[in-house]
Each structure stands twice: as C-alpha cells, then as structure tokens.
C-alpha cells in the first residue's frame, strides 16, 4: 500500500485528498443537473483510465473502445433482463465477454504484425462488425434497442443497481478511485515497466527479454476487462441500449479524448481530461440551446477543434504541464 504513495510530494497528497473530499460531499451541494453532469464526468474518467492502460501504458492505439463498452453493457443487460441475474454477477459475464473479444483482436493483430495505425483500424473494424451484428440480433432487441425496466428513483437498490443518480455517482466514484489505485500499482510493477518499454521501442524491449506478444495481449485484455464495467454502468444508468449509439465510433472518440487532452500515459490525465472536456462540451450545448441554435454537430465540431488544438499545441496534454507548474510531480 505504501508503494502507491511513494515519491509523491506532500502537497500532491494533500491536493489529492482535498479533491477526493470535495467529490465525496459534492452530491449534497449541487443540483440535479450538475450531479448528472458529474456522473458523466466520472464515467469518462473511468473509461479513459481503462483505455489509457492499452494506449498510454502499452502504446497500442485502440479506436474501438466503444466495442467493449457495448459488449459489457449488452452482456450485463442480457443477464438482467433475460435471466434475472443481478448486475454484479452480470459484470463477470461482461468482463469475460470483453476480455475474450480483446484477446481475439489482439491475437489477430499482434500475431501477424499488424501494428500502429493498422491495429487502430482493426479495432474500429471489429467495433463496426459487432455493431452490425447486434443490429440484426432480434433476441437482444436488434436495431430497435434493448430496454431495462426503469428504476423507482426513491429507493436505492445497490445490489441490482436500481436507484437515484446519487447512488450511481458514488458507485462510479468508487470505481474511479479503484481504477486509479490499480493503474498506479500497474505502472510501478514489472508489467508497467514492460508495457512502457514496448510502447517506447518494441525491438529494444524484445532484446531485453520481454515477450512482446504476450505483454501486448495482457494490455489489450486487461484494458477491455476494465472497460466492461463502464458498459455495465452505462446499461443500468441509462436503461436503454441501441447498437447504433453504444458501438458508434463517436463514442470511442469521446472515450479517448479525455486521456489525450489530459495527458496520455499519465495516471491523472484521464481524470483531468474528463473534468475539462465534459463540462466544456455540455456548457457549450447549454449555451447554444439558450441562444436558440439547435443544430446537430456543433458539439462534435467543438470536440474536434479541442483535439486539434491539443495535438498541435500541447502534445503531452494538460496534466504534465499542470503538474510541473504546481509542483505536484512524482519524485524518484
């Protein structure tokens, strides 16, 4: 446990503690709209953290993470609606499904030397493949969608994930903290070193005795397993699933924007990214609505411009710069 906080300057620990404290009391201080926004922020922070394991740590660019969100969501929703299994047990099915999917994609790509952007294309192709499949699978609602019975908002049933937004908020917060701790541990472990070596230079990594194929597979499978929870959460929070939406490439892009803007490969980057991007985009939507401009696509153009600006002017993301300015960097 000590290792999790090793090397962090005191002020960083204090900042982290304060931030967590604010998040813990936030639901009682804000209105329903802000709370719903915070739930979405935490969702993206978590999903971004999961994606970051694969790209940020191990250097394998996935542009199809909506695949794992969608599969996780459908797996748990299926278990719940068809077999009456609670979402926590459903999560196991979801994790098994997404991990298997990640393994298939990873095997196909890495076995045959499909790397870099071609790997990214393959992840999109699989995501689209599965989307079309679900569109044509009537048992799970097909393109008409799969719906979960809507919750009674007055009582919170944690076991079945039925309840008010505040319950979902704390569930997601807990998962975000867990994911952060887990990723911190990963980075400092043998696995983390091997991944970073592979990310930086595969040939050199292999020459140092690292079985590159195996460790890339572990990265893909672990990342897809973690992402499964984001899907389960999505299903039970929104109560409806449409293949067209949940598997869409737009969703994948939304997931990866946070970590990239926040700081690829850093632990705090995905969180910073989610806290910056989601409120900005939502605020923009609100503003446009208020101004009476109701044109679809404006939000996405905004996303695109944000991404462009960050890629051109802040290639390492916001967090590394911020951490340096505030003296919150880790020391060796």
């Amino acid at each position: 446990m000590n290792m999790l906080f090793d090397g962090l300057p005191r002020r960083a620990l204090v900042a982290l503690g304060l931030f967590l404290a604010v998040l813990l009391v936030a639901p009682w201080l804000v209105n329903a709209y802000i709370l719903s926004l915070l739930v979405v922020v935490l969702y993206f922070a978590y999903a971004g953290q999961a994606w970051n394991v694969m790209m940020g740590f191990a250097g394998q660019l996935s542009l199809g993470h909506s695949l794992y969100v969608g599969l996780g969501a459908y797996a748990a929703a299926m278990m719940f609606t068809k077999f009456g299994v609670n979402p926590w047990v459903g999560l196991l099915v979801a994790v098994a499904t997404t991990t298997a999917m990640g393994a298939i994609i990873g095997f196909l790509a890495f076995r045959f030397g499909i790397g870099g952007v071609y790997f990214a294309i393959l992840t999109i192709a699989f995501s689209e493949f599965v989307r079309v499949g679900f569109d044509h699978w009537p048992w799970l609602g097909g393109s008409g969608g799969l719906f979960l019975p809507v919750a009674n908002l007055s009582s919170n049933d944690l076991l079945n994930l039925r309840g008010a937004p505040i319950m979902f908020y704390y569930v997601m917060l807990a998962m975000c903290v867990a994911a952060l701790g887990f990723c911190r541990w990963l980075l400092g472990s043998r696995l983390g070193y091997y991944w970073q070596a592979i990310r930086e230079n595969e040939d050199a990594a292999a020459a140092l005795g690292i079985p590159v194929f195996r460790y890339k597979m572990i990265a893909v499978m672990l990342s897809s397993a973690m992402t499964a929870f984001a899907g389960v959460f999505y299903a039970f929070y929104y109560n409806n699933l449409f293949p067209e939406q949940i598997f869409s490439m737009g969703r994948s892009i939304e997931i990866i924007l946070g970590p990239i803007i926040g700081g690829l490969g850093t632990l705090i980057g995905p969180i910073v990214g989610a806290f910056v991007l989601t409120p900005l985009a939502d605020g923009l939507s609100e503003l446009l609505q208020w101004a009476g401009i109701d044109v679809p696509g404006v939000k996405q153009v905004f996303y695109g411009i944000c991404l462009l600006l960050v890629v051109v002017f802040l290639p390492n993301g916001i967090w590394p710069m911020l951490a340096r300015r505030l003296g919150l960097e880790r020391e060796h």
Binding site: Q196, A206, L208
Partner: protein, 240 residues
C-alpha cells in the same frame, strides 16, 4: 568448452547474400571482436545470433543448447544481451528506468531490479544521469545507456554493436577499462563489432574478419591486422 558455437550460418535478403557459411566460436570468459568493412555482414550476423533473423542454414549453439530460430526475447533470457548499432533507447523513460527494464530480466522484483540498475549505472559512470529522460542524452551517452541496459539483463554473453563509435579517445579508453573490468570480475564473455581499432586491439584476444558476408580471416589481433587478405579488403574499400 565454447560458450557460443556458430557453424555455417547463412542469410539471404531477397537474393542479396548477406551472410554465407560463417562459422566462429567464443570460449567462456573471452573477449572477441568482429571487424570488416561497411556492409560486410557484421550486424546481420549479430541479428541472426540475437534472434532478429532466422538463419537460412547452419547451427548456433549457446551454452550447449541450440538457439537458432528462437525469438529475440527467448535468446535474451537464454543469456545473450545485445546493443543496437542504431541506438534504440526508451526516450520517454528516465535513464534509470531504461536500465530497470533490462534488470527485470534477471530480478525477482522491481525493487531488486532498481538496485541492480543503479549498480550498472555506476559501473558505466551514468549514475548522475539516472533521473534524466533518455531523450535528453547525447549520442555517446545513449550508447552507454544501451550497454547498461544490456548488461543489466544479466547475460553470459554480451554482443556490442559499435558502442565506441563517436567517442573521444579518452572515452574509448574509459569504456575499454569498464569492459575489461567486468570481464575479469564476472567472467562475462563479450563479442564486439567495432571500427575503432584502438578499442579492438586493446580488448580482443581474437578477431573474426567478415567481408561480403564471408569470413576471410580470424586469429590473434596482431596477426590478423597483418594478413594480406584483410589489408586488401580494407584498402580496396579505401581505394573506392
């Protein structure tokens, strides 16, 4: 007994004959050098031994076991560390972390690997750069990091591909001293590809000369440099 025994290996690239029927062996604890003009096949030979390329034929035995056709990571775990002619550092990691990655090969834990990495960094006079990002180093420093990384994997045999290139004479002498010390203290066997003859003559007990992918001479350094065939291949190149 020979630690590395290479017999009759060959390698073709789309009709280009890079290596043909090359044999050599290195006894345990020795320091050998491989020299030859540019394009002679030295690096290809390294890459075949290190598992980057599969040989078209012939056999490679290391420590009594056949290793031809194994993957690079398996060869490293078998006990052969190597550096790259064109350095391949992990630019985003610190110098220390670069070496830790190598040290993990022979360490049970990350903590132990860090200790081992620090030891190797000190050995190579890189300790004061430990926290610098590898991307910020000069080329000779990067070469030393590369050597440190390979040494940290705990090899029985170290393949060094032109690690002296670009060093000043005093730095060459420094590196020579380091390798000699490691060789004497731990019995580490070393095979180096080198153009810097100052280092070759100071370190190697035995030299293999490659030219156009074939071994044209081998023997003790003083004899090899007087060999008319060797002189011809170098002078021939100069004359171009």
């Amino acid at each position: 007994m020979a630690l590395l025994e290479v017999v009759g290996i060959g390698k073709h690239f789309r009709g280009l004959r890079a290596l043909h029927d090359v044999s050599f062996s290195i006894p345990q604890g020795a320091i050998h050098a491989m020299i030859g003009p540019n394009g002679a096949g030295k690096t290809t030979c390294f890459n075949v031994v290190a598992g980057v390329y599969k040989p078209d034929g012939g056999s490679i035995r290391f420590d009594g076991k056949p290793i031809a056709g194994l993957r690079p990571d398996q060869i490293c775990r078998a006990g052969i560390g190597r550096t790259f002619q064109v350095v391949k550092p992990f630019p985003g990691l610190s110098v220390l972390d670069n070496v830790v990655v190598g040290a993990l090969n022979a360490s049970a834990s990350v903590a132990q690997a860090r200790k081992e990495a620090m030891r190797v960094l000190e050995l190579l006079h890189l300790a004061d750069k430990a926290k610098h990002p590898a991307a910020s180093l000069t080329l000779p420093e990067r070469k030393r990091v590369e050597v440190a990384r390979a040494m940290a994997t705990g090899p029985k045999l170290l393949l060094l591909d032109e690690v002296m290139a670009g060093l000043r004479p005093t730095e060459v002498d420094e590196m020579v001293a380091v390798f000699r010390r490691v060789n004497q203290e731990t019995g580490l066997t070393i095979l180096l590809i080198e153009h810097v003859m100052r280092a070759v003559m100071a370190l190697a007990q035995h030299i293999v000369v490659l030219h156009y992918g074939e071994k044209i001479a081998e023997g003790a350094p003083q004899e090899v440099v007087k060999d008319p065939k060797v002189l011809e291949c170098y002078l021939g190149e100069e004359a171009l």
